[in-house]
Symmetry: C2
Subunit: 207 residues, 2 copies
């Protein structure tokens, strides 16, 4: 794409570096800014820059936070001895929306992925091991997505922690509530049969 | 969506004001910034702000430009007496890519759209009329998209200019080159029959 303006070209190139944004979409987004008042673009740029400059990670769970210790970690009503291991803040938000988990989180900041050059040392795994070593953890719940990378990361952490006297569990995989069996993939359906739960328990959970 | 951080919330809200970007996509884009070095986010914000602050519109054709008179308008090899009327810079880029047009452009900056509150006075129609009044224009080519708004805008300009001694034409609508007749919509196919061209001319154009 050739542009008549260097300023436009720069703006489009920068916008196109966002994931899932190609050159054409970037041009559309940048031209949209021209239709809005100048100060709105300033505010946009300011919000993005301030976020990147000043954002903190909670020193306990490594979730995104404005303060040193995030709201969840500083909430005394939550159980400190159960830790749910997740990839990033989106998973924390999703689980918080269920209101079914009252423990703490541990945000890894990604998954082990040799393809993307992400090794265990770029994640917050050491800090999780330290928490377990300190002896106050009773259970770790793995809640990573069930991809190759997620499974690898789970297994890496499992091996690091298997000699400590803690329970380790993974969130249940199965047919979604309200889901039709005939449309489910075989692997999910198979796991839902292998990991079946006692009927009394299943009634208690859904009602 | 509830966020654990005001900074994150601001950044997501600003990002979500871009067209076609919802809250979830905005969150994904903003979290992506965290994975890149800080200076990249600074450069992103700088490019966007500088574009919005310093961008100029060519004083002749109103296209986006870094200088007062854009490259096309200042190119002496181009015909000044044929003017192609387009909506925005994307249309200019698309037509330039064909290398089939050697006249000047006139960028309207939008289409008349009562639904979006865009009237003729927000577009650069007056400036086009002035050019015609100055007497150096021989032909106007309408190249707006063939929507209700595009047709309305074409007709509005046509009425303003119909008493001047100039030709007014519209780009041809028809079956795309290489397109199959059976998959074309009826309106396009119908217009391609009504606006058929002499066979000798059609050979000359495609080979």
């Amino acid at each position: 794409m050739e542009f008549s303006s260097k300023l436009l070209q720069n703006a489009v190139n920068e916008m196109a570096q966002l994931p899932g944004v190609g050159k054409r979409t970037a041009l559309r987004l940048v031209l949209h800014l021209l239709k809005r008042p100048k100060n709105q673009t300033e505010e946009f740029a300011k919000a993005i820059t301030q976020f990147r400059e000043n954002i903190k990670l909670c020193k306990n769970c490594h979730n995104i936070s404005d303060v040193d210790l995030c709201e969840i970690c500083s909430n005394h009503k939550r159980q400190t001895e159960i830790i749910c291991v997740v990839e990033d803040i989106r998973d924390v938000m999703a689980i918080e929306n269920t209101s079914q988990f009252l423990g703490h989180y541990h945000v890894l900041g990604g998954k082990i992925s040799p393809m993307e050059g992400i090794g265990p040392h770029q994640l917050t795994i050491e800090s999780l091991v330290d928490k377990v070593k300190a002896g106050k953890v009773e259970e770790i719940i793995f809640a990573l997505s069930s991809t190759m990378e997620g499974d690898t990361t789970n297994f890496y952490i499992y091996r690091k922690l298997k000699d400590f006297p803690i329970r380790m569990s993974a969130i249940a995989r199965g047919i979604s509530v309200g889901g039709e069996l005939e449309y489910a993939d075989e692997i999910t359906l198979g796991r839902s049969i292998i990991n079946r739960v006692p009927f009394e328990q299943s009634i208690k959970n859904t009602h």
